[in-house]
């Protein structure tokens, strides 16, 4: 089963659909560009995100998680497929639906879960919460909660990589910045300013629209012009727009996105990529989803990216049912353990209220410190007597 495809008018010259190899997997052949080991790795990552989110929802019901919490289930192929196409030091930045990107970028699920639980061991010491996954070492520049806020920031990340390479020469290679945004975020002015800036400054940044059909209860068609071809917004900024229709297929996402990344790395020109996907759950934990039909949900559920890849691998003889079960059980155990550890972890010390407000010490402010996630094992701390720097 494939997502419904809305044929985009292909008239202009400066946008292209990335060549799809769309029927290979459906025929039971796994694409040759990726070996079975890689595909199993992606399957594992998608399973990890799914299981993480299942347990996050439970924890939310049990009031271990608070605030606004946005579940990534259904969209796994986007984060896993695109991030797999990047180099480790390519900066990425996203919105508040960010658990999947953090995990796909390799954040230890424990630090991610601890953040959701508001614990000191969280990636942001419990100060950020669900919408603010940051990992400096993994080049993840956040989780951002204001719709569209990450888009101008992305141009800044890209500007800096270019500046480092070309002006101050502290970097010897081109890094491609990837900025994820929702279909709803397209309607923020900041996004359009960011696109134009990226265009006039020739910044190596790729804006990835995760088009999951809705911005809260507003369908794309109700909120945005060119609703069936969002990637064409690129034209007005003189950049190339790409459409990846099969956003529920991690292999397609990866292969098609990789071409764009390679091109951007070569040319240092920005791109816009629309990826069609679906969020299986509500917008946030309190959304009854009355704006979409059961039939529509069913249709998309049948395109579950995890089922998709596991079936293909099994059909191709690269994975056995038993192996798949074992993988699932392992991940369940891993996340169960993460939940247990996170729920036993300490909340941030009260002193932490005044840490990280400023870099220095003055008045009530107590400088800044790194989260345990970025410290070596023997530097980790739960107390408040950390040295400030």
């Amino acid at each position: 089963m494939r997502p419904p495809v809305t044929k985009a008018p292909v008239k202009q010259t400066n946008h292209k659909k990335v060549a799809a190899s769309k029927n290979d997997a459906a025929k039971g052949k796994v694409k040759s560009s990726n070996d079975a080991k890689t595909l199993k790795h992606w399957l594992r990552e998608m399973l990890l995100i799914r299981e993480f989110e299942v347990r996050t929802m439970q924890a939310y019901q049990n009031r271990l998680v608070g605030g606004f919490c946005h579940i990534y289930s259904g969209q796994e192929a986007v984060a896993v497929g695109t991030i797999a196409a990047l180099q480790d030091d390519d900066p990425i930045i996203t919105a508040y639906r960010c658990h999947g990107h953090a995990l796909a970028r390799g954040m230890d699920p424990y630090y991610c879960m601890a953040e959701l639980f508001g614990r000191f061991d969280g990636c942001a010491k419990g100060k950020g919460g669900s919408m603010h996954m940051f990992d400096r070492e993994k080049h993840l520049y956040g989780g951002h909660a204001i719709v569209g806020a990450q888009t101008p920031l992305a141009t800044g990340l890209a500007f800096a990589t270019k500046y480092e390479q070309e002006v101050i020469k502290t970097s010897d290679h081109t890094r491609v910045t990837v900025c994820y945004l929702g279909d709803g975020a397209l309607n923020q002015g900041g996004f359009h300013e960011a696109m134009n800036l990226a265009g006039v400054l020739d910044l190596p940044v790729i804006f990835v629209i995760e088009n999951n059909g809705y911005a809260m209860g507003t369908s794309v068609a109700r909120g945005t012009t060119l609703a069936d071809a969002l990637y064409r917004k690129a034209e007005s900024y003189g950049m190339t727009g790409h459409l990846i229709e099969e956003g529920m297929d991690v292999v397609t996402v990866h292969d098609q996105f990789k071409k764009v990344v390679d091109e951007t790395r070569k040319t240092s020109k920005p791109d816009l990529v629309e990826i069609r996907t679906y969020r299986f759950k509500g917008h946030s934990m309190s959304d009854p989803r009355k704006y979409r039909t059961h039939e529509e949900e069913e249709k998309w559920n049948k395109q579950d990216p995890i089922d998709h890849l596991s079936h293909d691998l099994i059909k191709a003889g690269e994975l056995t049912q038993d192996e798949f079960k074992k993988m699932t059980t392992e991940i369940r155990g891993e996340i169960r353990d993460v939940v247990k550890r996170a729920s036993e972890a300490e909340p941030p010390p009260l002193d932490e209220l005044y840490v990280d407000v400023h870099t220095g010490n003055w008045g009530p402010f107590k400088g800044t410190t790194l989260p345990n996630m970025l410290r070596g094992d023997n530097e980790k701390t739960t107390d408040q007597n950390q040295e400030s720097h």
Partner: protein, 327 residues
């Protein structure tokens, strides 16, 4: 006759009554129509008034707040809902430049009779970007009016006045109060903008609060009464104009003043009131004006940190004890 209704229903009644009364009034914002409002304030309004007057927007705050201002310059009376005032920051230029200054800039030619309304203040672990209390920052701007109801009856009466007002009015609602029930008269009434209300009387200390913190003040006053400290609790209701008369009258009686303000302390509503009280009641004060604010840090996510940061009854009690030398 009065009946008990929720704060959110009081807001809705204000809007529907005014929309029936005046065809120029319309409601626009994210998810206000088909979704019935992100917080169900506009529930049923789409059916009642149709899609021409209850209008869903894309996530384009700059666009739709500016649209509202333009429509108001043409004589319409828009109600623009921000899902949260936190999101109004992306449209700061429209909201803080155009709405409040148009009349002045145009030499009196173009007024902007608009209402901006939405959730203000910490909602519960929403983190740094989503917990804005915009009152202090926005109240700094001349040309706007600002109302901040704490009870359903005032929510309705103030919002009705705001919709009829010829100036831009910012209505700050607390998500935490939307389900609060209270008595609201059946018959039509307006609550005047710029008049505080004394919610409780006492001779020992004046507590001034706005919006949700009024409830902390009342809780504190009840608790303090047990140890014989009686407080005047003033529900400010409007921030601009500010009813200094009511505050000063009370301070002249109690000789002590505590201001409870959910925004940051620096250059805040509380600092403004302190300054004004010190100007008009200098000789009446037995102590400096005490302020209870959010801590001077961005809102953290973790519950324990957030609780420590926000104002609450305990902090008000402590401040009153200190202000009245009852430590």
């Amino acid at each position: 006759m009065a009946r008990e209704i929720e704060f959110r229903d009081a807001l809705r009644e204000a809007m529907t009554e005014e929309m029936h009364r005046d065809e120029r009034v319309f409601l626009m914002g994210e998810e206000v129509a088909q979704y019935n409002g992100a917080y169900k304030v506009s529930r049923g309004m789409l059916e009642e008034f149709g899609a021409e007057r209850i209008i869903d927007t894309p996530i384009s705050e700059t666009g739709f707040s500016g649209l509202g201002i333009g429509a108001a310059m043409m004589g319409l009376r828009p109600i623009i809902e921000f899902m949260s005032w936190s999101f109004s920051l992306v449209s700061a230029d429209q909201v803080l430049n155009n709405a409040p200054k148009m009349l002045y800039m145009s030499g009196g030619q173009f007024g902007v009779p608009i209402v901006f309304r939405g959730n203000d203040g910490a909602g519960g672990q929403l983190g740094s970007t989503h917990s804005w209390c915009v009152e202090s920052m926005f109240a700094n701007v001349p040309g706007l009016k600002m109302i901040i109801p704490a009870f359903p009856d005032d929510a309705k009466g103030l919002l009705k006045s705001a919709i009829r007002d010829d100036d831009p009015v910012f209505c700050l609602e607390s998500e935490r109060l939307l389900s609060l029930k209270g008595e609201v008269p059946e018959e039509e009434y307006l609550t005047p903008i710029g008049e505080a209300r004394v919610r409780r009387t006492g001779n020992d200390c004046t507590i001034v609060a706005f919006g949700r913190p009024v409830h902390f003040a009342l809780e504190a006053a009840t608790e303090l009464a047990k140890s014989g400290i009686e407080c005047d609790v003033i529900d400010g209701r409007s921030i601009r104009p500010l009813d200094m008369d009511t505050i000063a009258t009370s301070v002249r009686k109690t000789n002590a003043c505590v201001v409870v303000d959910q925004s940051w302390p620096f250059a805040s509503i509380a600092s403004e009131i302190s300054a004004q009280v010190q100007e008009c009641c200098f000789d009446d004060l037995d102590n400096h004006v005490h302020r209870v604010n959010n801590d001077d840090v961005p809102a953290p996510y973790a519950t324990n940190l957030e609780q420590a940061m926000l104002p609450h009854a305990g902090k008000v009690i402590e401040a009153v004890r200190s202000a009245t030398y009852n430590l």
